[in-house]
Amino acid sequence: MRLLPALLSFLLVCSPACADGLRIISITPSTTEIACAIGLEDNLVGVSTFCDYPPEVKEKERVGSFSDPNIEKIMLLRPDIVLATGLEQAQAVRNMRKLGLKVIVVDPAGFDGLFKSIEGIGSACGKQKEALDLVKEMKDSIGSMKKDAKSAVPGIYFEIWHDPLMTAGRGSFINEMITLAGGRNIAWDTPRPYSRFSAELIIERDPDVIILGYMVKGDSAVGSVRKRAGWSGIKAVKESRVYDDIDPDILFRPGPRLIKGIEELNKRFYGR
């Protein structure tokens, strides 16, 4: 029986240590990006299998997938703070809190929420200044982007998925990003963030630019949009302004890199 405490203390000593610092586990890719952007990279002792940015986090201990974090593994890593998101992780968050872990849930619905989340993580982890700096930097880049927009506001159709057609409506990051990048979302009147969208309205509203928010292996998704029956007359198709070359991670992950996403959108809306 004496073996057990010995074994346990051995495990504790050997577990990846950040001797005097805060031990943080992040179980969503977006909070991992936020944590690294405000200088908490060395404090991360565990991440999810989906966390892949910045590339260094791939070396960190994995504590399960995004939708199914392994609570035992998390407990074993003795985190001071766990960073998580809402919805899919709500159950895991409840369980971890029951076990006495401090969990910060980050689930922003827009940029204002994102800024607050970044500041929240900063103040909980002793990086207030870094967080405020990051937020200011993000706000500055957004501000500078608006000035680029001189010509008429282009109509944008953002396709999240092709079968059935899914788009991002009011209340989504994508909708806000399109506006911030100087575009006008043609699905502005769709009341939900992610929803099916009527194909005939896309033709009627005749977007100037079509952005495909998914990547398909093999042939290009752009080609299949061009081939759609009835779509050849859409302005974006006629003028070859259908794009599938933006990394979906910088469009969909609510973290600091969304700014890059806005910049990429802006480039496509107003020519390179």
Partner: protein, 336 residues
């Protein structure tokens, strides 16, 4: 009963069938008209049609065409399976065929790619192959000493279907969030079709299958009396079972591959038409095709207008509208 009595009865039956067909044809024309004229985009017919309007109408037409074909096909498939298996709960999805189609679709989404074979995009093709492969698997398992007892076919189909659904769940649970969503969305059904090649492919299979089933309706009539009775009536039951099951599988596979899974239709339309036209498959098959087409065209019209500019999955509408109507008819019939 004298000869003239029989002749009179047959004539009145034929007259009744003619009336039903006329009514269905008229209803189909009206529903196509309503469907093409309604949609979230406003169309002004007082002016000459603009380029955009023409394209919108074209898309509505192709969508309505798929609704007729898929609605008709799934209903005919339901008629065949209910007649063949003599089970009122049978519908095209119960025998694992749709499970095979979903596995095919999920595999295609996980593998990815938008390339085409013979002008068909890869996802419908995979779905169709999945459905066809399931037919052979189910048939092989159900076979005992060169015969396929109806009971075995039904049970095997249900079990294979359950296994296939767990395979879908397995693949989805180990794939990324985006895959999961795309599979879910695909399974919920969608009639907007952008691929004319696919539309023609599905139309050929559904029409050919329905015509073949109609031509073999005497055998199906014999089957619906019971397998033994069918043997006595001179039907080569083992061969015909295979033929009917294959026809139903191919039709279902084609419809699912283009439109996703649209539930309820294949169950209620055949029953409803049996109430209206009687049990003769010669009438029942074409009547169910027309009725299924009408029903799906109207449901799809609702699906794309009730929450415009969003669309509601059409399977939701078929169930929500179909169930109360069906229950009403069932109660009315039992009261008579």
């Amino acid at each position: 009963m004298t000869f003239t009595d029989v002749k009179g009865a047959l004539a009145s039956k034929r007259e009744k069938a003619q009336k039903v067909f006329l009514a269905l044809a008229a209803l189909l024309a009206v529903s196509v008209f309503v469907s093409v004229l309604s949609g979230p985009a406003k169309i002004n017919f007082s002016e000459p049609l603009s380029e955009i309007t023409r394209r919108i109408l074209y898309m509505r037409l192709s969508r309505t065409a798929l609704a007729i074909i898929a609605g008709g096909g799934i209903s005919v498939s339901g008629v065949i399976l209910q007649g063949l298996l003599r089970n009122p709960l049978c519908e095209p999805y119960v025998l694992g065929i749709s499970g095979g189609a979903s596995v095919g679709a999920v595999v295609s989404i996980v593998i990815g790619g938008t390339w085409t074979i013979l002008g068909l995009s890869v996802l419908p093709l995979w779905a169709f192959l999945g459905a066809a492969a399931t037919f052979f698997v189910v048939y092989r398992i159900a076979e005992v000493n060169g015969r396929v007892p109806i009971q075995n076919l039904l049970l095997t189909g249900v079990i294979v279907g359950a296994v296939l659904s767990s395979i879908v769940v397995f693949i989805v649970s180990f794939s990324e969030k985006e895959t999961l969503h795309s599979v879910m969305w695909w399974l919920l059904g969608n009639l907007q079709i952008f691929d004319n090649g696919l539309l023609i492919f599905v139309a050929i299979i559904v029409v050919a299958g329905s015509v073949a089933a109609g031509a073999l309706s005497n055998d199906l009539n014999a089957f619906s009396l019971g397998e033994e009775e069918a043997v006595h009536a001179g039907v080569e039951t083992e061969r015909m079972k295979k033929v009917f099951f294959l026809i139903a599988s191919l039709i279902t596979g084609a419809c699912v591959s283009a439109a996703g899974m649209i539930g309820f239709l294949g169950l209620i339309v055949p029953h409803f038409m049996r109430m209206a036209t009687g049990h003769d498959h010669k009438v029942l098959i074409p009547a169910s095709f027309l009725a299924g087409g009408i029903f799906l065209v109207l449901c799809d019209t609702l699906a794309r207008t009730v929450m415009s500019p969003s669309e509601v999955p059409v399977g939701v509408i078929t169930a929500v509208c179909g169930a109360p109507f069906f229950i009403h008819m069932l109660r009315k019939k039992s009261r008579l």
